[in-house]
């Protein structure tokens, strides 16, 4: 059997008295979109944070293309090619849209000076072409002045611009309008066609069913159901989310 592109084996994480992840196994294939489902407190966000390196695991191994890697910081996960859109968006309100998109990965010229003009152009381009969020006319606007949906759009634009292999989306649609949500889901599909894998955390089974190739249902830090889209239905998924 060939090894999957990305795999976590036997991952555990404890926060005080709570076992957020309890010996979890999870894998992701190349160009695959996996829906990560489960009720609140099932451990979905912890898994996403572990994959992006901001929550180091207590135990467990990570394999990329069959080789074991250490993921203990955001930099480690960046090397693997992971981009994350967080539930709480991870933006700095007091900074402009452009500065937020390029935060930590600023474009610089030869002598290390920030290339403000190029960053501005890219930001305008990404905002216009990928997320189609109306109302963002000025990329120099402070993020604190934006609505929830617009903020989410900036977070999406950032992940989309830096996308490489794996896109993690933690409740990305919670602040979006119907039309914005459709755009985002369409974009996940387009990225899959380009070979980018995604993990989509959501409470909305209809959204998940629309774009995902496979579903993983979690409960109390464990994987309780793992099924390909072809072998299941929304009803069956609902039962597993609600009853486990």
């Amino acid at each position: 059997m060939t090894s999957p592109m990305y795999e976590i084996r036997d991952a555990s994480k404890r926060f005080g008295g709570v076992l957020a992840l309890d010996g979890l196994d999870f894998h992701l294939g190349a160009g695959e979109v996996v829906g990560l489902l489960g009720d609140n407190g099932a451990g979905k966000s912890t898994l996403i944070k572990m994959m992006s390196g901001i929550v180091p695991p207590d135990a467990g191994q990570v394999f990329v293309d069959g080789g074991e890697v250490q993921v203990r910081s955001r930099r480690d996960s960046q090397k693997i090619g992971i981009e994350t859109i967080y539930q709480d968006t991870a933006l700095v309100d007091s900074m402009s849209i452009v500065r937020n998109i390029f935060m930590g990965r600023e474009l610089v010229g030869k002598r290390g000076f920030l290339d403000h003009r190029r960053m501005r152009e890219v930001a305008i381009d990404v905002l216009r072409t990928t997320v189609h969020i109306s109302g963002i006319d000025d990329p120099d606007k402070e993020v604190g002045a934006l609505s929830g949906g617009q903020k989410q759009a900036v977070a999406i634009a950032r992940a989309v611009y830096f996308k490489r292999r794996i896109l993690l989306l933690d409740e990305p649609t919670s602040a979006l309008s119907v039309r914005e949500t459709e755009n985002l889901l369409g974009y996940i599909k387009r990225l899959r066609d380009e070979g980018v894998s995604s993990v989509l955390v959501t409470h909305n089974l209809y959204h998940a069913y629309q774009v995902c190739d496979r579903f993983v249902v979690m409960s109390h830090g464990r994987k309780v159901f793992d099924v390909a889209k072809a072998d299941t239905s929304i009803d069956e998924l609902t039962r597993h989310v609600v009853l486990t």
Binding site: I54, R74, Q78, A90, V92, M95, G104
Partner: protein
Amino acid sequence: MNRPVAWIRRVGQIPGGGILIVFVAIQIVCIAGGLLFPAQFRYLASGNISVMLQAIPTLGVISLGVGMLMIAGEFDLSVGSVYTFASIAAAALLNDFSVPAWVGLIAAIAIGAAIGVLNGLITLAFALPSFIVTLGAMLFWRGMILLMHGALSIDFEPDPVFQAVFGGSIGLLPASFLWLVLFCVGFHVMLQHRRLGNHMFAVGGNRDAAYAIGIRPGQVKLIAFALAGGMAALSGVFSATRVNSITPVGGAGLELQAIAACVIGGLSLNGGRGSVLGIFLGAALIYTIQDLLLLLRAPGFYLDIFVGALIVGAAILNQVAARSAKR
């Protein structure tokens, strides 16, 4: 809307622009007063101008370091003590070990930066508010000055070249003011055009978001702490060179004046906001008002009243500006 009003509005929207408008307005009034009543209001007398330009750099240099740290989301209340401690250390090196003055200057900056880093390490390692840690450091190093040196003032007499480069003047322009301008340009470039500056804004604005995106907040904050300590030491040596003597209690109160300059200059106490232009003008404005009151022969306590009102007024203005920017 007519053109000047629109123009003033545009200036008001750039970082530090609000304070710039206030500063220019006060200067216009003062200069007009100086021209109209040259005998009674000696604002434009060369002696007055040179005294003012000599006074600003002490606070300006220290405020630059404190400001960077505030933008990165932390405070340093120990800069006044560091200012004195590091310059006395430099003077002791000159007097007792007869090292060249520039070695003393570098040693002072290194001591200041080291104290800053120590403040930062304690703050970060125990997740304490830097306000508390540096309040302790302020008292600690103030006491260390008296323990190691005593309460007597100490001479600081560097070689003539050093004296000219840091304490001389070109016409009315003191060397220390030119140094301040140079540092302002350098810090502005760092803040606006280098990665480090961008990371300071990010870490000060939202530490968790900066961390989630791959910035190391601890590292950025330590650099900012080092800058605050190093600039305080540098300011101490500048002052020592100007008057060729250091009093062990000389730096007391500077830490609050520096924070005042930063707040007047539009820096947020919560971090993540501010500009070098604002810091410079904040420091310059405090001394302009001091000078103004001296020229009007107002008793000394008027300065506290005016600066106190100015701080609160500036904070209110900044708050209003931040709110209107959100709409």
